[in-house]
Each structure stands twice: as C-alpha cells, then as structure tokens.
C-alpha cells in the first residue's frame, strides 16, 4: 500500500494531548500542550462531531473545548491531534 503523504501548513498545529480513554470506547481530551510547551487544561468538552477545518486544511473528529474562558477546536486526525492557529487571516 502506498504511504499517505502529509501536508505542511503553518496554520495547522499538531499538539500533544492528554486524554482519558473510557472502557466502553471513546475518549475525552483533558489537556493540550501547545507548541511552546505550555500546558492548558480543558475545562469542558461541549461538542464532538466530524468536521473539516478549512483554516488548518484537514478533517477529523472535532472536539469543541473550553480552555479558560475561550472556546477552541481540537481535531483528532487518525491518531494525531491538531489545532488551528488563531489570529492570522
């Protein structure tokens, strides 16, 4: 089988994620470690659905998370997590 190519995009940031995996399947991310190494706790996951990210260029399972008092999207793409870079364009 051919290898799937990966794409480089400055607005797509792959991040480390801490998560709880449930015994009946599924998982909930609990914290994100941003590219600068800082860790942000996820207070609440308010929505989970398949979605595309036009900004980051990709698709996955989108977790809508509350971090502090901000709402952010966290995408699970196969076995990697990515986020959209804020504030540009």
């Amino acid at each position: 089988m051919m290898e799937e190519k990966h794409y480089c995009n400055p607005d797509k940031i792959y991040v480390s994620v801490k998560a709880v995996f449930y015994p009946d399947g599924g998982c909930k991310p609990t914290a994100v470690i941003w590219e600068d190494g800082r860790e942000y706790e996820i207070n609440r996951v308010t929505d989970i659905r398949r979605a595309a990210s036009l900004k980051a260029g990709g698709i996955g399972i989108r977790y809508t998370c509350r971090v502090g008092n901000r709402e952010v999207y966290l995408f699970l793409e196969e076995d990697r997590w990515f986020m959209e870079r804020k504030g540009t364009g």
Partner: protein, 419 residues
Amino acid sequence: MERVILHSDLNNFYASVECLHRPEIRNKAVAVCGDPAARHGIVLAKNYLAKESGIQTGEVIWQAQQKCPELVVVPPNYPLYLKFSRLARSIYASYTDQVEAFGLDEAWLDVTGSTHIFGSGIEMADEIRERIKLELGVSASVGVSYNKIFAKLGSDMKKPDATTIISKDNFKQTAWPLPASDLLYVGRATCRKFARWGISTIGDIAESDPLVLKARLGKWGEVLWSFANGYDRSPVVAMGEESIIKSVGNSITTPRDLENNEDVLLIIYALSESVAARLREHGFKCRTVHIHVRDKNLFTFGVQGKLLRPGNISNDIAEKAMALFRSHYSWAHPIRSIGVRGCDLIAADSHEQLSLFTDEEKRIKQEKIEATLDTLRCRFGHFSVQRAVLLKDRELGSINPKEEHIIHPLAFFKGGKLP
C-alpha cells in the same frame, strides 16, 4: 411505487481534497497530475479555476501548462482520496444501506425506503450536501430522480454544491434539451452516429423509434432509448453485494513502450503474478483470462480465453495471456499499456475435475511454490524474490503491480452485461 434515487458526485474530487489540505493553493488554478517520469503525466482532476482556462481531464501536463502557465501541478495522493471516499460513503450509509459506488467520487443511493424517516429525496440530498461540506470540507452535487440514469444526469447539471431534481413531471423540460452525449454510455462513437442521423439531444433519442435504434446500434440502441425515456429500472446494488469480486485484474502503463514479445512477456509475468497472488489472497481461482492491450496511438483492444482448468497459478495465467497476445497482436505499433485479468471466478476450495493428461504432481508442486512465494513476499517484501526474466530489464522488471494500486471505476453493469 416510484423509487427515490440520489446520485451524489463529489465535485472535482481529487483537486478539492488537495485544495482543502493546501490552503495556499486554494485561490489558484490547480491540476492533480500523474507522474510524468512514469509516463502517467496527464491531468487527473482540476479545480474550477483550471477549468476556466480550458484545461481538460486526460490532457498531458504540458498542454495544460500552455493553456494556463501559472497552473499549480500537484501529484495525486490516492490513500487520502480513498479515505475521503470511505467517509463520504459512511455519510450515505446513514440514510440507506443501498449505496452503489461508481468510482471513488460518485455513488447512487436508493432512499425509497428512508423517505418516511428522513423526509423527501430533496431534503435528504440537501442534508447530505451540507454534511459533506461540513464534515469533509469538499462539495457535492446531488441529482434526485426516480431512476439511476436521470439521477446521474441531475448531479451533472448544476455544479458545485447543488441539488437538481429530475422528476416524472419535469424530465421533458430538464433532461430532454441536454446534448445526447450527456447521457450515460453515449460515448464519442455513438455521438458521431447520432449526429449523422440528426439526433443531437436526449429528447431526440427518446423520440426516435426504438426499433430503428436497435437495428442501427444493436441492443444498446434500445437501452439508450429506454434511458432517455426514464424507463431505466436497474437497481442500486446494495452495499455488501457490491463487494463481491467479479474479477481480479491489473494493468499498467509501462515506463517505456514495449517493442517486442520479450518485453510483453516480462510485463505479462509481472501482472500475472500479481493477479494470481490476489486471487489466492481472496480464495479464488479463475476460469477465464482476459488481456487488454493499448498501443502508443491509444488504439485499444481486449481478448479473452478459457483456461483448461480453473487456476490461480501465475504460470498458467501468464501462459494463457501470452498465447492470447501472440495470436491477436501483429506488432503494428509499440505498446503503451497492457492489462491481465482473471474472470469467471470460482472459490479456490471448490471441487474440481482432475485431468488424466496433466501432471498433477507438478501442479501441486507449483501451488506450493507460489504459496511459499506469497509468504516470502509478505515477510521480506515484494522484491525479495523475483523471476529471473524480470531481471533482464531493470526498468520494466521493477514494477510492482500488486502494491501500486490502480484505481478503476466499477462497471455500471456488473460484468459488462446488459440489463
């Protein structure tokens, strides 16, 4: 009861998936092209901006670049397209289990039985489009009709991201004015004939005398007439059934033109090995071998012949394929691409009539050798063990048809049979 059939077509599929993943090229003319070094250098898909400059699918790269010098050419990423195709199908599957794929980017859905759950065909079509846009980041056109032919026609009428309805009440206004060539299975040759008889639109086909069409075009004449009138009754082949394998084949456009029987032998061995290995993998034997040859002027033909007995051994398949080739090709031109297919499949473990006149022991030995080869290749890679003949020409011998996937759309009528 009138059926409700949807045909969903992912717009500019390969190019849309690439543009989603590469935001930097979204506002440029983009063409997904094969690898020119391997002589697959043609346009496989393009986005709307590329289409505006007149670029056509199937064109060679330099032609496309002449039309549009700033064209962004990207290589295809089949595994990603397969993933998107699978995800689209899982969206369809939430509306019906009757989904028939037509290539990676198109599918028919029979949603007749789901209308009391999800609403009308149009509502489902709109919802599917919306979900494809949100979940996959690409767009789809959906045709809604009471048969497969008009549903497909509908999905081609308005692009991108639109729903088109062709109903029993409006098909004469919507479908009939369209050019005859828009109808599925009206190709260039048929179109030329139609033109000669003064048939230019789908309506013209519909209003012709079916007996005359049949006399002139054979059985297809009548079929096309029934398509044009909306009489198509062919079912949407349900999921699962569709996966039943009808034949196993591989074809390849070779890195250089094939000049003589030795070249062809080499390729036929490589292809037959792949076909045989895949037959074994799926637990089949084939009774018939089919070859397909295209010369460098793109003249194409196919012939098939029966094996003495069903088999999945590469030698048997290769020898049959080579015999077919020798008796049907006179080397008018060098060859550009060649394909080998095993069809008429039976389960490998079914009972078979032994022959008094073949050496059974030798045959069993061969089967064992091939099984051993499968194991070796599985553990140490495809090129860990090879036929000596493939070493004669490194360029041709280094192709691996089994793992380099070649994607073909499924035949509309399974097995090429008329309805």
